[in-house]
């Protein structure tokens, strides 16, 4: 979706403000939110792409004015309600009012913590040969899906060069809609700064994205 989350190249957000000796969490509740998202994802309530989509789908003013973990909380609530794991009035009441919905991998317990400390695996067997090889010139398609995608707006319509094939991976555009993993080849595609930002761009700039094959066409 063409949301405010897709920020690459936007102006007006001001300076980057590093915080010296930043704590891992600024408030205790931030850690609880992170843990709930990780636990329910691991229990099979949703996949990582779906959880990203629910954060992107927050209203633009809410997205831009909420702290990082507040976005995680709001996205989590919306997603759990939409998927029937909680009822809309339960959080307001602070208690379970409806029966639980079974989780794909069951309740998340202390025994499950170890396995979530290693990232999930997203590589899958390929069903077809890759269409592109290193050195090929490709154009990022001018597409505007209203659902989840990992093709940022700032590259759409622009020509880059395939630098590397990263293997065949779960396709987020399908997985986020729970339309299956639909694995696709994933390439690192490099764009010249001038191709993306015009003649005033930094002449020393090259920017790459990792692009799934359906995002690309031969240039």
């Amino acid at each position: 979706m063409n949301g405010v989350h897709d920020m690459g190249g936007m102006d007006g957000f001001g300076k980057v403000e590093p915080e010296p000796n930043e704590p891992m969490f600024h408030e205790r509740w931030e850690g609880r939110v992170l843990a709930m998202v990780r636990a329910l994802g691991a229990a099979g309530a949703f996949n990582i792409d779906t959880s990203r989509f629910y954060r992107e789908a927050l209203p633009p003013d809410v997205y831009l004015s909420s702290s990082y973990y507040k976005k995680w909380l709001l996205g989590l609530e919306d997603m759990l309600i939409a998927k029937g794991f909680i009822a809309p009035d339960e959080v307001a009441k602070g208690h379970a009012l409806t029966p639980a919905k079974p989780l794909k991998r069951g309740k998340f317990t202390v025994q499950d913590v170890e396995r979530i400390m290693v990232r999930g695996q997203f590589g899958r067997d390929a069903k077809a040969a890759p269409k592109f090889k290193s050195g090929d010139r490709v154009r990022a398609k001018n597409i505007h899906p209203t659902t989840h995608t990992r093709l940022p707006r700032y590259v759409r319509g622009h020509v880059g060069v395939i630098e590397r094939n990263n293997g065949c991976h779960v396709f987020p555009d399908s997985a986020a809609n729970e339309a299956g993993e639909n694995p696709q080849w994933l390439y690192t595609v490099v764009f010249d700064g001038k191709e993306l930002w015009g003649n005033d761009a930094d002449p020393t700039l090259k920017t790459s994205i990792d692009a799934f094959e359906p995002y690309l066409e031969k240039a």
């Binding site: 980057v16 507040k70 090259k206």
Partner: protein
């Protein structure tokens, strides 16, 4: 009437209460147990962090075979180290050189190599960095107090998939003969994102 300070305070309380309410609902429904949430938080607070990435970088600075393996397949190379935290399948190490500087961003959300660097800092997840890094990386570096020579190529890696990037910074001069452990002390988190350099010998840490 409440003053501004009270307003801030009550907002914080409101979100804290809302998070507690959600946790109670999830616990009562049997989806999670609070002790498991405690354990997750504790694991993040103790097991992951930039010290993992620093050990990998220091090893690459001292062991040419490891460096070659790291640049070829970082997940595999780090996986074989054993003493460093386990990583997922799709870690990619990118090397800084006198003619090239690498910078990592996630314009769409907050993708970051957790196992190597810990949880990302707030600035990495916030709009100013995410919006500008791909278009004006030199301006972003200036916010970190860094100026690169004009002729150095800047390569920005936008983490748009499940691949994760670790910058391998250049080894500081004046560290000949240093041990891996000594070198690891020089490797900063920001130097592995590309928004900083390693410390130089003798500089305050």
């Amino acid at each position: 009437m409440t003053d501004h300070h009270d307003h801030d305070h009550s907002e914080l309380s409101e979100i804290e209460l809302r998070v507690r309410a959600l946790e109670t609902v999830l616990t009562e429904k049997g989806y999670v147990e609070p002790a498991a949430l405690d354990a997750i938080i504790q694991a993040y607070e103790t097991k992951i962090g930039p010290h993992n990435g620093a050990r990998v970088v220091a090893k690459a600075w001292t062991d040419p075979d490891f460096k070659r393996a790291l640049l070829e397949d970082a997940s595999k190379a780090v996986g074989q180290l054993g003493h460093v935290s386990r990583v997922g399948d799709h870690l990619i190490a990118v090397e800084n050189a006198p003619h090239r500087h690498n910078l990592v961003v996630c314009t769409l959300c907050s993708c970051y190599p957790w196992e190597m660097l810990g949880l990302p800092p707030v600035w990495y997840k916030a709009a100013p960095y995410r919006s500008r890094a791909v278009k004006d990386p030199r301006g972003v570096l200036a916010d970190f107090g860094i100026t690169l020579p004009k002729d150095i190529e800047i390569r920005v890696w936008d983490s748009t998939a499940e691949t994760r990037f670790l910058v391998l910074p250049m080894r500081p001069k004046g560290t000949e003969g240093w041990s891996e452990a000594q070198l690891a002390e020089l490797v900063t988190r920001d130097s592995m994102i590309g928004t900083g350099f390693p410390r130089t010998p003798g500089a305050p840490s």
